[in-house]
């Protein structure tokens, strides 16, 4: 796995942890400990995303952050090359 791919996976792992806490907070909105933990994961994801974007350009292509060419020509998620 390339350094770029490893960093990409780290970002998504951290964001997944944040998503998991988000679901937990839906049913435990008063749990300050979980909210604090989520903020920590969000901060980590922000830093890692910044590091990635400075080195390699946009991550997690959406219609808001990608070029028209990358959107249509980069591999689609169901293609092995994207995983």
């Amino acid at each position: 796995m390339s350094e770029k791919e490893a960093l990409r996976r780290r970002i998504y792992a951290v964001e997944f942890a944040s998503w998991e806490l988000h679901l937990f907070l839906d049913t435990h909105p008063n749990n300050n400990e979980a909210a604090k933990k989520q903020e920590e994961y969000r901060e980590r994801a922000r830093k890692l995303r910044k590091e990635y974007e400075e080195k390699y350009g946009p991550i997690g292509e959406t219609p808001h952050n990608t070029s028209r060419w990358a959107w249509i020509s980069d591999p689609w998620p169901w293609e092995k090359e994207a995983n």
Partner: protein, 199 residues
């Protein structure tokens, strides 16, 4: 609104095609306990939910299920690359192939196309949340059954991820049900229908 992010929730990278396995796994795309039904169930039930925690959890889990639908579609797609007519016939994939070639169609393993009759939206919070708990348990059971037939680690790994998500969702719905019952008369949980009576 929904906006597409061009990636999977969890990577899928299957090296070896296996149409026989694809024929089973497609049931989680369009079968009775599959991801499209899960997503439509939660995203449709949420409108009648009387409490904000319940509206939030149904929206979020319903959204995550769409990412799971995409993962299952990807597994089926990757399992059906570069097949010869002989491989298709030997695997019993010919009965699917004749109508869909290797397109991904929402269908149960038994061949029944997806139907909204596989889920309910009752407007009754108690009925809907009990159904949601049951749905998560049934989906976990389906992934367990898929794991009995899948020996390829490239397939087992994302299936295990999806199985684990069913368990987390079951827990969250259980908490949702508890939030609801805590607000009802504990001597008679079934006395009234909060989502109906509100209006």
């Amino acid at each position: 609104m929904f906006m597409y992010e061009k990636r999977l929730q969890h990577p899928v990278n299957i090296k070896n095609p296996n149409p026989k396995l694809a024929k089973i796994i497609i049931t989680q795309y369009g079968g009775p306990h599959g991801e499209i039904g899960a997503s439509l169930r939660y995203l449709s039930q949420r409108y009648a939910m009387p409490y904000p925690e319940l509206r939030a959890i149904l929206t979020d889990i319903g959204t995550e299920e769409l990412s799971h639908l995409e993962m299952v579609g990807t597994i089926v797609y990757q399992l059906t690359r570069n097949l010869t007519p002989e491989q298709i016939q030997e695997a019993g994939f010919d009965t699917y192939f004749v109508d869909h070639t290797t397109g991904v169609y929402p269908i149960a393993a038994s061949g029944t196309p997806f139907s909204a009759s596989t889920f309910a939206v009752t407007g009754d919070t108690i009925a809907d949340l009990h159904e949601d708990l049951s749905a998560e348990q049934k989906a976990r059971m389906s992934y367990d059954n898929i794991l009995r037939f899948a020996d390829d680690p490239d397939v087992r790994e994302p299936i295990k991820f999806l199985r684990a998500r069913e368990i987390v969702h079951f827990q969250r719905f259980g908490e949702g049900l508890r939030i609801l019952t805590d607000k009802l008369d504990s001597k008679n949980f079934y006395a009234f229908n909060p989502s109906f009576d509100k209006h």
